[in-house]
Symmetry: C2
Subunit: 147 residues, 2 copies
């Protein structure tokens, strides 16, 4: 079998996440879903990916419980793709990707948008890793232990 190796059985939770959303398009679909995109054709227009690929990706995300389909909000006979609770749980990952780009991108002037809090229109804070007692942690201050 010479197939893209699946990470499903791996004990590492990072690998398990990537197995679900680690492909080229899934996180962009989810990003658009957070932005309010719900319809097949809207995803396709926004992302510019081939329709067959979008079909496969949406099906995979639905199968994994990240998206779900529901009757279209506009009353038509079509269906909408909307985020489940599990899908909405991906928000910190999107924020972390955004903040990394904002901090380290070679061409930050090309970044077009900023994430702000809706009520004050102020930029959000950087995600901060903290210990149980609230003190900030650097990567070196952490370690992995068996569960």
């Amino acid at each position: 079998m010479v197939k893209r190796t699946s990470l499903e059985g791996d004990g590492c939770p990072i690998a398990r996440s990537l197995d679900a959303i680690g492909d080229w398009w899934s996180l962009l679909i989810i990003r658009d879903a957070f932005f309010g995109v719900r319809r097949f054709s809207a995803f396709q227009r926004s992302l510019g990916l081939a329709k067959n690929i979008l079909t496969v990706r949406l099906r995979s995300l639905v199968d994994r419980g990240i998206l779900t389909t529901e009757p279209a909000a506009d009353g038509s006979a079509y269906r909408d793709y909307v985020l489940t609770a599990k899908g909405r749980g991906l928000f910190p990952i999107l924020v972390a990707l955004r903040q990394w780009s904002e901090e380290f991108d070679e061409h930050p002037e090309e970044i077009a948008t900023m994430l702000v809090d809706r009520s004050h229109h102020q930029p959000v804070r950087k995600l901060l890793l903290c210990a149980n007692d609230g003190t900030p942690l650097r990567p070196e201050d952490t370690t992995l232990v068996p569960r």
Copy 2:
């Protein structure tokens, strides 16, 4: 040209991040690098990926300034791959992926490890998105604005 579409020119910082690290292996390589893996053969053993793929991925990560090579720590004539500051900046993304899996995975009992703070051996806190004034924010409490 029928080639995997690049996200490089996109104005969305999420797309820009994914362009750098959004492939099947890069984040796993980086995860191992945080865990202390430094040598080509060690990455290959740990990840079980083909050597030609590893060659390409490491080169890409070095080109993008996420890894760098330096003389081997053990004094041999070989070279080590180590994270740059930009690479270490990816830690929140790894943590977010880990926490998503911990919270939503279908089979949490298969998750083998826990991230703890080194001094107290207590699990780290969940990454929390906050407004500028420190109040926690849900996804719906945020919005995107032009820069």
